[in-house]
Symmetry: C3
Subunit: 289 residues, 3 copies
């Protein structure tokens, strides 16, 4: 009989996420070993426990999931997990980062856009583009060949993100834009056919008035689930809904695809022992949904 599949959940929050545990179970992980409050210096022993216990042919049946509400902390854990694998001896296991759901959310949002637009060359604006989800959305769009504006109240912060994307994605078409004032927002929106809002809860990033002056806009996707939403006029349950001539998606409308991607990513972990699944690898699964 095959060995049971084991997902080792590393969560930077004190209590490991119930959400991530339930999804892991429903995705088919036989056992979920959950760790909360995980700090970087504790990762080595956890990784060694994963890679030194099963033989090479069974290592694909052990994997790591990195979660927690703090995406930056998750990224540090991901890096540290990689540091303690021993690929030179074939001793490694696959790992998926989805801290705060950032990768699956970004993938689902870009996937929603791709249902209606050929992303290659599409003029896009990412509002709240400097947060963990916004950065990933912008990067994924850039990889698909979109012409991406990264929006932030402070242009300098957006520029940092744009530069990082240019460094990661060869040939990326990315520019930073300020969106703090109505005039800046108007300029940022000019010519855009796609807007994805990935800002913090409670901030309206795109008032209805601004939209009216943006005739080229075709698809609007809002990833905020808590009212007031980031794009005025979009509803949280919208899933490809026609609204004022736009195709609209709200957070819950995107959530169904996000959940499917999340489960597919967990299942994928157990196919090989050498995967590192960050935004791009997660997005590669999205085409199925």
């Amino acid at each position: 009989m095959d060995k049971r599949t084991i997902l080792i959940q590393l969560d930077s929050d004190p209590l490991p996420s119930v959400f991530d545990r339930v999804v892991a179970i429903d995705a088919g992980a036989d056992e979920v070993l959950s760790y909360g409050g995980v700090r970087v210096e504790q990762v080595r022993d956890l990784v060694h426990g994963a890679i030194f216990t099963r033989g090479p042919k069974d290592l694909k049946r052990t994997a790591f999931f990195i979660g927690g509400s703090d995406v930056a902390a998750g990224e540090r854990l991901l890096e540290e997990v990689g540091r303690h694998m021993l690929p030179q001896f074939g001793l490694r296991v696959s790992v998926l980062l989805d801290a705060n759901g950032a990768n699956t959310t970004a993938a689902a949002a870009v996937r929603a856009a791709a249902r209606h637009l050929d992303l290659q060359g599409t003029p896009a604006l990412v509002l709240g583009g400097t947060g963990p989800v916004g950065q990933r959305v912008a990067r994924l769009l850039a990889r698909q060949g979109a012409d991406v504006r990264v929006g932030s109240r402070q242009r300098s912060r957006a520029e940092t993100v744009a530069q990082a994307i240019r460094a990661q994605v060869a040939g990326a078409r990315v520019e930073a834009v300020a969106t703090g004032t109505a005039a800046e927002l108007q300029a940022a929106l000019t010519g855009r056919t796609l807007v994805i809002a990935a800002g913090a809860a409670g901030a309206v990033l795109l008032p209805r008035a601004a939209r009216a002056a943006c005739p080229d806009l075709k698809v609007a996707i809002d990833l905020n689930a808590v009212p007031p939403l980031g794009i005025e006029g979009v509803e949280v349950m919208d899933k490809g809904m026609q609204r004022d001539g736009l195709i609209a998606y709200g957070a819950v409308g995107v959530g169904d695809t996000k959940m499917k991607i999340h489960k597919a990513a967990i299942a994928r972990l157990f196919e090989r022992n050498d995967q590192v699944m960050d935004a791009e690898e997660v997005y590669a699964l999205a085409a199925n949904f």
Copy 2:
């Protein structure tokens, strides 16, 4: 294939109870997600993780169990869990409170009495009636129509409990009595056919001498498992044993029924997604045992 059943154990003690985990497994929960040291402010995310992960038809296969040695802390967790359900969207899961075994113990004790007495109208005395188990025993007896005296060393504390029961149980026949002195105890016992002792370990609440002067007493149930027992002359293993003309139950004698009720309550959780199981709901299961 049906999704696995998931019991989320919230325990206010630092280490989640082994007892509750083993009983949950033996009751048939496929997965038990155990959390220790849970504080009220951590509950929201745990509940959201439970209600946002599965579709409406599968939500009954996720449930909460609230335990821990501190019953008041458990009650606060129960209240907070309820606060974050979203019944208006059908997004809720069932929850069982059994902190310190208080509900299952009280239910088993009252069930033991009901095997021998028609509780309707039965004159009863609950010794140690202000503790978490004692309060529940008194309330359950009142709901069955018994004529209940809540005993405590300080009558004022017993009165608080009696008032709470009157507020919860329409038509409850409950009075507070002091039991601190031999004379007070004698008065409290007068005319009682049922005594249930639910006091703290190490305190003899009903000495043999006091019992002798109480000719109407028919059933004596002691819920203390650690010598000296609360009712002198009852043995911890007694389960309907005849002792000096009384029918006697000790803590272990009640424990078998308690365990059956506990398992039935866990199993019941997974039948519907809208149950809140506190003392009364747990007692409703006791008639089967």
Copy 3:
């Protein structure tokens, strides 16, 4: 259907060992209840939860595993676990100590030696003999009738260990030797056919030069996995390898047997409810591998 087997993992480290959890799963435990940062004063309730939840015929399907990097802490937990069993009522479960892998490592090392030598009467030297693994190796060798030298930089510390072994093993042939200087090491090695090095990582306990002057040596086993190894010339992957006329074992070479012993010990736990498995009981399983 039989009740599921439950292994309760008590680990003195803050995060319970992934290694031990994975091995427990692969050894067939249906459920592993993992506790990290366990302190002695928390053990009582954990044990009560284990022994008060299942009937006598099912108690063998619950067991404790005690781990963690601190072997002394593990020994204190083992002692405390035993204190709260209630064998007079048949209320006990089996328990295995393998903190820091000390018991399975020591058993595997002695087993490796026994493949090549009749341990009865074999002159042996244990380098690093005062650490938790070294002590166990020396004790197991003494029980097999070997003529054991316990080596340490300070002879007085080795003498403490030797005395403890004499107190535990009737007829043990054990002596303490200093190994701090080249001359002391030379004297300690004289006439030895077996050397097992169980010292701390990073310390070369037996330089090649010292070996050259030791013509009787037949088997050299090094339990250090991190270079520099404890016995110069032995490689970490060696498993019965011929090296300079010696039969050599390195840590990884011993590790395969160690893993088999570990799994067999877990499986053994669920055969009876009255076992306390420390070094000797673990070694008794080693003959199968």
